[in-house]
């Protein structure tokens, strides 16, 4: 059955950052330079093509955008300046908005203003909430229990509650992702053992990002890995060791050393990335979508206030520490509450999943191909 082309989609994607895709004349240069395009994984040209032709369903079902790490090679060597790399980035944004059933993500990506507003509102509500709660049960001059302004016990519960909500959202999105890319594909029947066999891919890529290392340039991978790991460490510390982290007076090195490492990692990498995005010298940092800025700024705010309140608290300035803590939470809540499920942060989950799904798909197709027989040599014109 013939697929109806939709010349309008390309306009829609512009809002997501794909401004130059129409320039592409399909010489195949980008796929040829990309270390990830092999056999039938034609990255990024095929996605560019689907986008030009407005094949929405095909795009929704494709994992290729997640398999690209935007090293910038393709964009630099593109004979038409069609920015394949940026197009893939835009597609990732678009896909995120497609996986998200609430539609909030789409709103975020299509209007930076809306996202900023949402973030600000969330921040203010958080502040209001915690201030009231703190005053109701403690004094601004106490950081540590008894009658601490923001006792870790309470915060801990709040964290878990928030985490719960996020997980629900994220998991539903991931399931939708599975449905688009594998589930609904009529002629793709994945036996369970393949899922099992490939499951290891998830933690492996999540923790090592080793695919990223295949790119010609290694530095971006290191930065990315550092950022990701610091973030994960911090997450673990907060979700499980908040007590040790927050309560004083003594410094418990078994825990805090990780805290410091993570903080340094977070601040270092985010500031590095921020400067790059401002400088615009390297291809992959040339074009910045509003979401990229918001994401970075939030991270920096959170990391900075986090360490600041720690220092203030240790130096006995409890009041100042509490205020900083409030500011910290004002950053944390929107970051976790909005960025993770609806915006850039979600790729933390989608990328490893994409690799998992794609390997599952290949495995399945391989099995099918074995049955079909070998593939033919290039066809004479």
């Amino acid at each position: 059955m013939a697929i109806r082309v939709n010349p309008k989609l390309i306009g829609d994607l512009e809002a997501f950052g794909a401004e130059d895709v129409s320039k592409c004349y399909h010489c195949g240069n980008c796929s040829a330079v990309c270390p990830f395009s092999k056999e039938t994984h034609i990255i990024p040209r095929r996605s560019m093509r689907y986008l030009q032709m407005g094949m929405e369903e095909k795009l929704k079902g494709s994992l290729e955008p997640w398999l690209c790490y935007y090293c910038g090679e393709c964009s630099e060597t593109c004979p038409r300046d069609a920015e394949p790399g940026e197009t893939m980035m835009a597609l990732r944004r678009w896909l995120t908005s497609r996986y998200d059933f609430t539609g909030i993500s789409r709103l975020f990506y299509r209007s930076g203003k809306f996202e900023i507003m949402a973030v600000v509102v969330a921040a203010l509500l958080t502040a209001l909430g915690f201030v009231l709660w703190g005053m109701s049960r403690g004094s601004i001059h106490n950081y540590d229990p008894p009658n601490a302004f923001l006792p870790d016990s309470g915060i801990h519960i709040f964290d878990w509650a928030l985490a719960g909500v996020l997980l629900v959202l994220l998991i539903t999105n991931c399931i939708r992702m599975w449905w688009f890319t594998i589930g609904r594909d009529k002629n793709l029947h994945v036996p369970f053992w393949i899922y099992a066999k490939k499951l290891f891919v998830l933690p492996l890529h999540f923790l090592t990002q080793k695919r990223y290392a295949q790119c010609e340039r290694k530095r971006p991978w290191l930065i990315h890995l550092a950022l990701m790991l610091s973030y994960v460490i911090m997450l673990v510390l907060i979700m499980f060791f908040l007590g040790f982290m927050q309560d004083g007076p003594s410094i418990d090195w078994r825990v805090h050393v990780f805290g410091y490492i993570a903080t340094v990692g977070l601040l270092g990498t985010t500031i590095f990335l921020l400067t790059r995005r401002i400088r615009k010298t390297e291809t992959q940092y040339k074009h910045s979508h509003e979401t990229d800025w918001i994401f970075l700024v939030l991270l920096i705010v959170v990391a900075f206030t986090g360490i600041l309140q720690h220092i203030l608290h240790r130096s006995g300035l409890d009041a100042a520490a509490n205020v900083t803590y409030i500011v910290h939470l004002m950053g944390v809540v929107p970051m976790l509450g909005l960025e993770v499920p609806f915006s850039k942060w979600s790729h933390l989950a989608y990328r490893p999943l994409a690799m998992f799904f794609s390997e599952v798909r290949d495995e399945t197709e391989l099995a099918a191909e074995k049955a079909a027989g070998p593939v033919s040599a290039p066809q004479a014109m």
Partner: protein
């Protein structure tokens, strides 16, 4: 006639230092001009809005001015129709088409605009006066274009001064093996013409010479030509090769595009015209040692026609017309690291392959891969093309190298697709069991018999793959081409023994100097600009200066030859009538205005 002037820039080229404000002001003062609007750069135009504007201003004629106003014309035509006006009265004042973008500037823009407002084609109004013309003609460049033009004019019994930078005429065509699509050997069809040029009484052939300076005015030019010291008496030399065989100085052969060695004193190729040797000072021991060493050739020469003390001569000629036929150079493939040219031994440029497959080339026409040979002089091992080398089992030809690429040359080089297909044929003909791959983007087989030729190549079993490869790499001693086969939708890593880069064409070295010397402009891609793309493809803004062949834009042989004969028409026309046209550049705004006005009357 109530006229409205709309200025809209397509913003293709830079604005060439145009002062649009003064153009606007000028337009406003032209008769019947009711309104002047500057719509700016790439305006989004709504015909119905424009229609309203035309209606309210009761315009009977609309003039679109700008670098390429044609891009907006349909919107205005539709608006005019909606407004109930005559669509024939939507007129264009294209600054780019008439040289305002390329140096002629604001004044030209005004005159173009004036003509459009009067409803007169610019080319009708802007006709320069004629000037008395000398019978002599100077032709710069003796490739196939220069040769053809020279013969046309000389056969008509008119004096021609043919100046060629290298030591022989023939240009690139003489280096080729076969010519597409008929596959007749280039030498077979070119050499007779070369011989004819060499023998022609009306052609004063100056090889190994360059134009130093041109002064004077259309119809009466004076050219200074530097005849570089050849150190060999052309008339006496019998090309016996005695000097060559004794010469110790070696250098890469220019004619073989560096894939073979020549001596310091040598002949470019056996059929060279003039058929005489030439001494290259740069590689000659005698000159390297300021006359202290060597000089053996002088002793060996049986006809005593070598003079090591010879100096450059400056010759002055007086001519009426000048024809530029400087052709092209090959783009430097080394600029694209991904293709490994210069690093991987068996990555050749197209012109290198032409010499390799040419019967008179270093391997006698055998297609072989390079072999590692020890160079005793340099004490190093180097890759050389030697008849004893093994033939490649598979050959890849990569199209659009440096062409159609905004990172290099944005333009298409026009000839590469066809010569690449020709290569495939030659490979298949000489090595029937060799695999042959063509990696292309668009197969541009546009000429007479070209499409049929392309089909034939595919039938011969060459794999014609759509997809420009991006890398050539060495993997475990095997050269691999990494690319995408777009039609069969998969990435392909093709192991090959030889890769031929279909390198694009760039303007010949020194064309910038010539353009400046003669006061003619060059287009965005640095080829010489013609007077008018459509109706004057071989004339220039400067009277009595013509362009022919690839120096005006890449061209294949038939199109080049046609242009060469075409310029002959222009030249002969001016010689027979004794009068040629002056430079359009000399025309003042008021003159053009006046002419346009007078033309409106009739």
């Amino acid at each position: 006639m109530r006229t409205g002037v709309f200025i809209c820039q397509a913003g293709e080229a830079d604005q060439g230092g145009l002062d649009l404000h003064s153009v606007e002001a000028y337009a406003a003062n032209l008769p019947d001009v009711e309104l002047v609007r500057n719509l700016g750069l790439r305006p989004a135009l709504d015909p119905s809005v424009l229609a309203e504007e035309i209606r309210s201003a009761r315009l009977e004629r609309v003039v679109l001015a700008g670098d390429s106003p044609g891009f907006f014309k349909p919107a205005f035509t539709r608006a005019m129709a909606q407004a109930g006006g005559s669509t024939d009265e939507v007129r264009l004042a294209s600054f780019r088409a008439h040289g305002a973008m390329s140096g002629m500037g604001t004044v030209r823009a005004k005159s173009v605009l004036a003509c459009a407002v009067f409803g007169v084609p610019f080319s009708l109004a802007a006709v320069p006066d004629t000037t008395a013309t000398r019978p002599g003609t100077l032709i710069v460049g003796a490739g196939v274009a220069g040769i053809q033009a020279a013969l046309e004019i000389a056969d008509a019994g008119k004096q021609v001064y043919l100046v060629e930078r290298t030591a022989t005429i023939g240009g690139h065509m003489a280096m080729f093996d076969k010519t597409f699509p008929t596959l007749d050997c280039a030498a077979c069809i070119l050499t007779p013409k070369m011989v004819a040029v060499g023998q022609h009484p009306m052609i004063d052939l100056m090889t190994y010479a360059e134009v130093e300076d041109v002064t004077g005015s259309p119809g009466d030019y004076r050219a200074k030509i530097r005849k570089k010291a050849r150190h060999v008496d052309i008339d006496a030399c019998v090309a016996c090769a005695a000097c060559r065989d004794s010469c110790p100085g070696k250098a890469p052969s220019e004619f073989d595009s560096g894939i073979s060695e020549r001596r310091a004193i040598d002949i470019p190729f056996p059929q060279a015209v003039p058929n005489a040797y030439v001494l290259d000072e740069a590689s000659c021991l005698y000159f390297q040692s300021d006359g202290k060493r060597c000089g053996v050739c002088v002793k060996k020469c049986p006809k005593e026609c070598i003079d090591l003390e010879a100096k450059d001569e400056i010759i002055e000629v007086e001519i009426g017309n000048i024809i530029l036929a400087t052709g092209y150079d090959i783009y430097d493939a080394g600029k694209i690291e991904r293709y490994g040219y210069g690093l991987l031994p068996n990555v050749l440029t197209a012109i290198e392959f032409e010499r390799l497959t040419n019967a008179s080339g270093p391997t006698g026409g055998k297609i072989v891969t390079k072999t590692l040979k020890h160079n005793n002089r340099k004490k190093t091992d180097e890759w050389v093309l030697d008849p004893s080398g093994d033939p490649p089992k598979s050959v890849a030809i990569i199209h659009c190298v440096g062409s159609r690429d905004v990172q290099h040359n944005a333009y298409c080089s026009r000839v590469c697709c066809m010569y690449s297909l020709k290569f495939a044929h030659l490979v298949k003909e000489k090595l029937p069991d060799a695999e042959c791959y063509e990696y292309y983007i668009d197969m541009r087989a546009f000429g007479k018999g070209y499409e049929e030729f392309a089909d034939r190549i595919a039938e011969e079993g060459t794999y014609v793959v759509r997809g420009r490869t991006a890398r050539i790499v060495q993997e475990k001693g095997q050269m691999v081409i990494k690319g995408e086969d777009i039609i069969s939708e998969r990435m392909v890593d093709t192991p090959v023994d030889m890769a031929i880069l279909a390198v694009g064409l760039v303007p010949a070295e020194g064309s910038a100097k010539l353009a400046e010397m003669l006061g003619i402009s060059r287009d965005r891609d640095l080829w010489f600009s013609e007077l008018d793309y459509n109706s004057d493809p071989t004339d220039t803004e400067r009277g009595g200066v013509f362009v022919a062949g690839a120096c005006q834009a890449p061209k294949d042989i038939p199109d080049t030859v046609a242009q060469a004969s075409a310029v002959a028409a222009g030249v002969l026309k001016s010689i027979t009538s004794g009068r040629g046209s002056d430079s359009r550049a000399e025309l003042s705004l008021s003159e053009i205005e006046a002419r346009a006005r007078s033309l409106v009357q009739v």
